[in-house]
Structures are given as C-alpha cells and as structure tokens.
C-alpha cells in the first residue's frame, strides 16, 4: 500500500496542475487578507471590528476559514483529476490490471487525498501566519503576548476541523467522479450538490423548528463551520452559536467520510472497467 501511495504522491508532484493550484491557494490568501486590509485602511468608524480578523489571535479565524473555502475548492479539483483522469487516460485499466486488488488501488487514492488535505491545511496555516504577521504589524504591534495554552487548543481544533472539512469534500468529489467515470462530470456533480445543500440549509435555517430544521445539522456544510472560531477573547466575525458543537460536527463529518469511502469502494469494486 505504501508503494501505491508513494506513486500517487509522485504523480501529483509531476503534474503542473498541483503547482498551479498551490499558487491559487497562496494568491487567494493574499487577496483575502489584503482586500480586507484595504477595507480597514479606507474605513475609520468601525476600525477595531474590521481590523480584528487581520490581527492575532483573531487572524486564525480568517486563516482557517479561508483555508476551508479555498482549500476545499482546490482539493475537490485535485481529487477529481487524480481519480477522473485515470478514466479519461485509460490508466485505471493499466493500474488495476497490474495491482489486481481494487481496494488497494482506491485505498491508495483515498490515503493520498488525506495526505493532500493535511498538506493544504499546513500550507494554508504557514501562508496565513506569514500574511497575518504582516497585517498585525501594520495595524498595531506584533508581539507574542496573544500566545496562550488555550490558543494552541483552538488552533489544534481549527487545524483538525479544516483538514476534516477538506477530506470530506474531497471524498464526496471522489465518489461523484467514480460514479460518473469522469473528472469534469464529478466536479459538476459536486457543484450541483453544493448548490442544493446550500439552498436546503438556508431554507431549513429560517424555519422555526421541526424535523426539516434538524436535518441541516446533519449535513456537511453547517458542520464544517463548527471548527473555525476562537473559544475565548478577541473580536470575531463568526457566530458559532448558530452552528453545531465540535463533537457533533466531528462525528457527523466522520460518518459522511465513512459513507463516501464505503460507497466509492463498493461502486469501484462492483463495476466493470471498460475502455
């Protein structure tokens, strides 16, 4: 299995799209932070409220929420190409014919997606911290006073939640790609699902109560918001009280992960691989 995972990572390193998407990730971080910074600079009345997300420790909210948004987009595209292009290039036949055991082949793909989710989260954190150091210094004073023990706990939760968010979305994309046997069809289906879920979540959030409202707390997106906020102190743009608790969100997202992996493996095992 480790050989197959290494092969997957080797292929990723050799693809141009990996580096293009990495550049997009860094570019989007710069865009989010510096557009926000421009907004703060051009406004004086709400200076503190607007400036807080650009300064430590609140900046971690913005770092991880940006990582979730942009990272998800990037990992979904990567996951779709990693799995889907094997169909369009026909290499899935070559690989499966040689490996013979399909779970091993798909297991390596799944593990490489998990590794990619971690890598994207780490890169996002590094890029975010570098940019936030700059914005913190520009808007006030850069010191290490904000570092507390509870902050490490918050960062750990946000980091884990972001990696989990990226993973669950990548696995959903993988399932769609396997279903459609095409990268683009998989991306299209993923976008379609996102729209439907968004509409449903908005509708159910506006309801007074009832089972429809409770369903939204078991969907993917509302649970991904549970991780990205500081527990204490600082100003925050986020409203965690609207979202499920961290434990609930973790359990729900892990269940979705298990379902997507199970469905992908079942489909891949059952279906013929034709030219």
């Amino acid at each position: 299995m480790s050989t197959l995972v290494n092969i997957e990572l080797f292929k990723l390193r050799k693809r141009k799209i990996s580096f293009i998407l990495l550049a997009v990730l860094i570019g989007m971080f710069c865009l989010v932070f510096f557009s926000h910074y421009y907004l703060v600079e051009s406004s004086e009345t709400t200076y503190e409220v607007l400036a807080a997300p650009l300064q430590f420790p609140d900046a971690f909210n913005l770092i991880f929420s940006t990582a979730q948004g942009v990272g998800t987009l990037i990992l979904v595209i990567l996951a779709s190409f990693v799995v889907g292009e094997e169909y369009s290039q026909g290499t899935v036949r070559q690989m499966v014919a040689r490996i013979r055991t399909r779970p091993q082949y798909l297991g390596a793909k799944t593990l490489s997606l998990l590794i990619m989710a971690l890598i994207i989260t780490v890169i996002s954190l590094l890029v975010g911290v570098i940019i936030a150091s700059f914005t913190t210094a520009k808007l006030g004073e850069l010191s290490l006073d904000f570092i507390t023990l509870s902050l490490f706990g918050d960062i750990g939760r946000m980091f884990g939640g972001t990696a989990l968010t990226l993973t669950v979305n990548a696995l959903l994309a993988m399932l769609f790609v396997i279903l459609a046997k095409s990268a683009w069809a998989g991306i299209g289906a993923y976008i379609g699902y996102g729209l439907v879920e968004g509409v449903f979540t908005t509708m159910s959030a506006s309801m007074e109560g009832g089972w429809l409202k409770s369903i939204s707390s078991y969907m993917i997106t509302p649970n991904t918001y549970a991780f990205v906020h500081l527990e204490e102190g600082g100003l925050s743009l986020w409203f965690p009280q609207l979202y499920p608790g961290v434990l609930h969100a973790t359990m729900v997202l892990l269940c979705w992960c298990a379902f997507f992996v199970g469905a992908s493996f079942y489909l891949f095992q059952r279906r013929d691989i034709t030219a």
Partner: protein, 235 residues
C-alpha cells in the same frame, strides 16, 4: 502446460452478449492469434482475463489457477500491452515504467533500460509520453509488458496505428519473443500480421468462437484471408 484456459466464458452487458460460451486453451510456447472484426468481443475477453470485467458466466485459468483465486504467484509471469496504450501523458516514458516497475517489484526496475533498448525507445525515454507518436506509445506498451520478464504476453492490437516500418519492427520483435519461448496471446484484426507470427488462431464473431486450430492446418487449403471471411460469413 496450459497457460490460459477459458471455459464457457460469457459476458453480457444488459441485453448485449459481448462474449458467448468462449472456450480457449493456450499451451506454453504457443503464439495464439485471436482474430475477429471490430466489436467481436476480443477486448472484452482480454478485459475478463485481466480482471477488469467480471464474467457473467464461466471461468478463466492462468497457469492452472482460477483467476478468482490469489494470483500473486502467477500474475508477475504475465505481461500485458493494452490497446491504445494507457500511460500518464505528463510523465516521461521512463517515469511511467518506473511507476509500474515499483508495483511489479522484484527486479523489474533493473530491467527498465534493457526493455527500453529492446523496443528501441532508450533515446526518447526521458520525453513525456504525451509527446510520443503512436508507434512510440505502442513500443512503450511492449516495454512495459516485458518489464517483469514474463512467460506469457497478452498483446491487444499491438500494431494499431503503426506505419509499415513500425509494423515490421513490431512483428520482428514478436517473432524474437517467440524464439525466446514466450507464450503470446495476440489480439488483432490484421490477418497478415497474425499469419506471419502465430502458430495457432481462434476466430471470434459476435463473441462466439467460430474457428480454432493450428494456422498450418486451417490454412492448408485456403489462405487465412479466405478462411477468416468464410468463418465470419458462415459463423
């Protein structure tokens, strides 16, 4: 020793019967030509042998073992060159072989230079697969098939898209492999190619085997082209 044996092999795709009650037997050292018009079920049969397509009915044996069993001991003895060689276009020929040599293990990696020399692709091995001509792609597919020094080679339309020079080179290569004692299963619709390299043939039509036997015996009275057309028309 029987290298490949199929018994009542059948594959249905919904209402379409792609392969019907196919019984093949290939002995060690044979070069078996698997002939048939386009859409006759040749690639589906190979797909079933490779484990890519699940048979609806029947069984397949490789080196005396059912392919549903653990094939880890016999599978490295099988080399496959697929139709429309499927490799990663953004990787070089060398990197593509490297990936598959890692899966094959043993000394496959050490054989990379040797097999690239054999198929005369060493000078372009570092170029991306996506830049290769069809002939070079076919040669890389054959290099991949030879990586594990297999005893049994499955070649699916290996001369597809080759120019006359490329076809001759491929034919000479197959004959050389035959002289080395390798068993070869050659799927093709090019009669001249099959006639020149194969000692046994099977002709399929609409998934059914309509003729099977030694080339010399089957073509003693009429040429292969006539035999093929007769089998297709009457079958």
């Amino acid at each position: 020793m029987t290298v490949l044996k199929t018994e009542h092999l059948t594959k249905r795709f919904k209402k379409i019967v792609a392969v019907s009650d196919l019984n093949l037997q290939i002995e060690e050292g044979e070069v078996f030509g698997f002939l048939g018009p386009n859409g006759s079920g040749k690639s589906t049969t190979i797909g079933m042998v490779l484990g890519l397509i699940a048979p609806t009915h029947g069984r397949i044996e490789l080196f005396g073992r059912d392919i549903k069993d653990d094939l880890s001991s016999v599978w490295p003895r099988v080399g496959v060159a697929m139709e429309n060689p499927p490799f990663y276009p953004y990787l070089s020929g060398w990197d593509n072989l490297k990936i598959f040599s890692q899966i094959l293990g043993d000394n496959a990696g050490a054989r990379m230079e040797e097999v690239l020399d054999t198929v005369k692709l060493s000078s372009r091995a570092r170029d991306k697969f996506g830049t290769y001509s069809q002939g070079m792609k076919q040669r890389l597919a054959l290099a991949y098939a030879l990586l594990s020094d297999p005893r049994f080679l499955i070649l699916d339309e290996p001369t597809n898209g080759l120019d006359p020079v490329g076809m001759r080179e491929m034919r000479e290569l197959i004959l050389r492999l035959k002289e080395e004692g390798k068993t070869i299963f050659l799927s093709s619709h090019l009669l001249s190619e099959v006639e020149q390299v194969c000692d046994h043939i099977g002709i399929v039509k609409e998934g059914r085997l309509v003729t099977q036997g030694r080339v010399d015996d089957l073509t003693s009275e009429i040429g292969l082209e006539k035999l093929f057309l007769k089998a297709i028309e009457e079958g």
